[in-house]
């Protein structure tokens, strides 16, 4: 018994509270992994990335998803579209992070509404980084946005146009196309739907915005929230045992694959 206990993470065992915000291990993971992604894809004109989402409290399924992704060496990196936790409990963030750390390729995590409860946003920020971020993989710009407006009572600018404007200003000259990622898509219950049309207009100012990826509604489906043919590819919850692989081709097109695992 004692041997088993000493084998455990001391910080976890002597828990101050499920929401104590204390954790060991990797922090600021998005920045670390973005550096890896950008250096590995520098100068590339074709990219393969996987999208997983809503892995909250489905650790076994996530474990299998990680194994499945690791078995596909063509994948350059993974985007997690949010809801790493169910309750925003600190230990849940650690459990999910430790599962994702098994990925052979770098990954980035977006914040989901379930990660926004209690002190979740502070833990997420320390563990992964700011809720809005962007990076470049080869000639493609990836813009990752916090869209959980309901969680912040619409008192914080979500989606943050100031961030988007600054990001547009700072685009590298090599950018040939753009991919957007978020947790909750426009016209979902979390999105600030008052400005959904303006958000779309703004996003279309990115160079050749191809499509958006999202999670939140737990089904793996194609959405067209604006009815104009612009696609939001929603990745279902880990419970459904599906993830997406996108191949961005040299000629500018892309290919989407739904993987059952």
């Amino acid at each position: 018994m004692l041997v088993m206990l000493t084998g455990l993470n001391s910080c976890d065992l002597l828990d101050f509270h499920p929401y104590d915000g204390r954790f060991d291990g990797p922090k600021d993971i998005n920045a670390r992994n973005i550096a890896r992604i950008e250096s590995a894809t520098l100068g590339r004109d074709s990219i393969v990335f996987a999208v997983i989402s809503d892995t909250q409290r489905w650790y076994d399924e996530t474990h299998d998803a990680v194994n499945s992704i690791n078995a596909r060496p063509e994948i350059d990196f993974v985007i997690h579209c949010g809801d790493l936790t169910d309750f925003s409990a600190t230990r849940e963030f650690e459990w999910m992070r430790d599962e994702l750390e098994r990925l052979a390729v770098p990954y980035v995590c977006l914040i989901g509404n379930h990660d926004c409860l209690a002190n979740g946003p502070r833990v997420f920020q320390t563990m992964f980084g700011t809720p809005n971020f962007s990076f470049n993989a080869g000639d493609t710009h990836f813009i990752c946005l916090d869209t959980n407006a309901l969680e912040h009572d619409y008192s914080v600018p979500i989606p943050d146009f100031a961030f988007i404007n600054a990001d547009l200003q700072a685009l590298p000259s090599t950018t040939r196309r753009t991919i957007a990622a978020m947790h909750a898509c426009p016209y979902s219950d979390q999105f600030n739907n008052n400005i959904a049309p303006q958000f779309h207009e703004k996003m279309l100012t990115y160079p050749d915005l191809q499509f958006a990826v999202c999670g939140h509604q737990h089904a793996t489906i194609e959405l067209e929230p604006y009815g104009d043919g612009f696609k939001y590819y929603q990745c279902g919850a880990a419970k459904g045992r599906k993830y997406l692989i996108f191949t961005l081709k040299k000629d500018g097109g892309y290919h989407r694959e739904v993987i059952d695992y």
């Binding site: 088993m4 455990l8 976890d12 002597l14 499920p18 929401y19 209690a118 833990v123 320390t126």
Partner: protein, 258 residues
Amino acid sequence: MEDIIVKSLIIKSLIGLTIGLGFCGPTHAAESDSIATPTDSVITLEATPDTLPACSADIHGSTDHSEPVTPYTRRTERFRRGWDHLIPNQTSFQVAGGIGAFSIGIGWYYGRREQWETDVLWGFVPKANGDDMHQTLTVKQRFVPWHLPLFKSHRWTAEPLTAGAFINCIFGEGFWEKAPSKYTKGYYGFNTKVRYNLFVGQRLRYNIPRRHRRFNRSVSFYYELSMSDLYLVSSIPNKQISFFETLTLALGLRFQVF
């Protein structure tokens, strides 16, 4: 409003703790070195009323012996004895255990074999990773089936099993019991404020010899392993989350005041 309730609860707890720690023990009541049971203590108190400190007499509500015994004095004595049961007879200090970095508490042990205990604890969760500090309040119910004297001197008592449950409430922004009205009904099927926990543990008690008693009759070291409702529902459907990863350890001291 909530803050006022918390503050008044804390103040009440602290008053209770001060009384419990400082002024109630039968510290000067007897010369002998034998081990007192609660029954002993009561007898001793009554047998030597004039050796008691004044405040103790106030608290225990000892009657003025010059007053003749009448149905009225008998009734008021019964009334006082009834309320005497509400005086906390134990205090505790705990480290970790899912209710704060540390917590202090007052409580009651009761039952024919002193097998039941109820504690109320105030806990402190320090700042971490940009989050504010938080205060928590806990009600803990403990079952202690066995008290096994060790050695002939009866100085040490082993309590090989303690088990029970506690409910913890954390205060601060973003912690709610009933989901705010902005969410549709059932949007989140849980709450972030109140945690339900089960625990098992063990305890070792040192019975302080009478001549060395200052504030307490005994002091015990305990540890408890608990599991929170959130971790339980995470562990059950997932082989990846082992039972041991869901446990939380508490280390503590429990003082039997009288």
